[in-house]
């Protein structure tokens, strides 16, 4: 069970809703993933073409928890505004704080992310900041009262996987709130690895939406996260430098 603030979830996969080849594929991918939390962005509506389809309209919003992000914000003030806009929809109390500090790497601005988190916690939001894999920053976000920390595995949409497992483990080991590895996951192995490191969940988007078969990949991610969690709970064996035979040395019928 994944607990974020006052909410509980069976699934530990948080799924993004951007860049799918079609709404049909997206719908099937969301269903098969068994994700309960879906992320969205807040944008100006094209009111001059109101007939444009919107994925949210095709979704039974009572079945999912919406996690809007503050993507597009470059300052804490912008992030807080986007969060308030999202909340005014009446559909959600959760917010993924995403304050980008660098256009090329899309890495978060740590100072503005912390400021926005502090403000939104005060405003009563359930706050999940997307952060770099910095243990000190993760601790400060916790102290600010965030409800989960979401360190990136590698740059957003890069699919490079977990490039600094040591830092992620540091964050996980000191965490007092759930740790959700967000951004950079490319394959089911990456998602399983995140869970094996002890993460409480994984947030991904492009790894599914840009797969050749997004529906199959959504299923693969769901299974990988479950497998990784079981592996973590089971406790992996110690690594050894040399081989140790699995079969007994005694009673061999040769020689």
């Amino acid at each position: 069970m994944l607990k974020i603030g006052s909410l509980s979830f069976q699934s530990r996969l948080l799924l993004g809703t951007g860049k799918y080849p079609s709404y049909e594929i997206q719908k099937a991918a969301v269903e098969i993933s068994e994700a309960e939390i879906l992320t969205f962005a807040v944008r100006r509506m094209n009111i001059f073409e109101p007939s444009q389809p919107n994925f949210l309209e095709q979704l039974d919003t009572t079945k999912y928890t919406l996690l809007p992000n503050t993507a597009g914000a470059k300052t804490a003030a912008e992030a807080v505004r986007i969060a308030k806009l999202a909340k005014a929809s009446g559909l959600c109390d959760m917010i993924k704080v995403e304050v980008i500090g660098c256009d090329k790497t899309l890495l978060p601005d740590p100072v503005e992310t912390l400021k926005a988190t502090e403000e939104l916690v005060k405003e009563g939001f359930i706050v999940l900041p997307y952060t770099s894999d910095d243990v000190v920053l993760a601790r400060k976000l916790q102290e600010a009262g965030c409800h989960a920390v979401m360190p990136g595995a590698s740059p957003i949409g890069s699919g490079q996987g977990i490039i600094n497992p040591v830092n992620l483990r540091f964050i996980i080991e000191q965490a007092t709130v759930p740790v959700i590895v967000d951004a950079g996951i490319g394959s089911p192995a990456d998602a399983a690895f995140a869970m094996e490191l002890g993460a409480d969940g994984v947030l991904l988007n492009t790894a599914v939406s840009a797969a050749k078969d997004p529906v199959k990949m959504a299923k693969a991610m769901s299974l990988a996260i479950e497998a990784g969690l079981l592996g973590f709970e089971a406790g992996r064996m110690e690594k050894k430098r040399y081989a140790t035979a699995s079969s007994p040395k005694e009673g061999m019928s040769i020689g």
Binding site: M45, F48, N54, E57, A71, L85, A88, L91, N205, T206
Partner: protein, 67 residues
């Protein structure tokens, strides 16, 4: 009256008086939208009671796919 609607200067018809009228005019009254006027975010119940004024800066936003 003339307003700035999602960044575009628009001349509104006289019968559009409230935010609810505006949403109906653009046929988005049933959709999940959030309206902000001059930096003030409105709740859904305020759409009916909020009157528009000349030179209002109106933002209408919604949820789109994102990660």
């Amino acid at each position: 009256m003339k307003v700035l609607l999602n960044g575009e200067s628009i001349q509104l018809a006289e019968e559009i008086v409230t935010v609810a009228d505006l949403l109906t005019h653009y046929e988005i009254q049933e959709k999940v939208v959030v309206v902000e006027i001059n930096g003030e975010i409105l709740t859904r119940v305020e759409h009916q009671s909020t009157r528009l004024a000349d030179k209002d800066r109106i933002e209408i936003v919604h949820f789109v796919g994102g990660g």
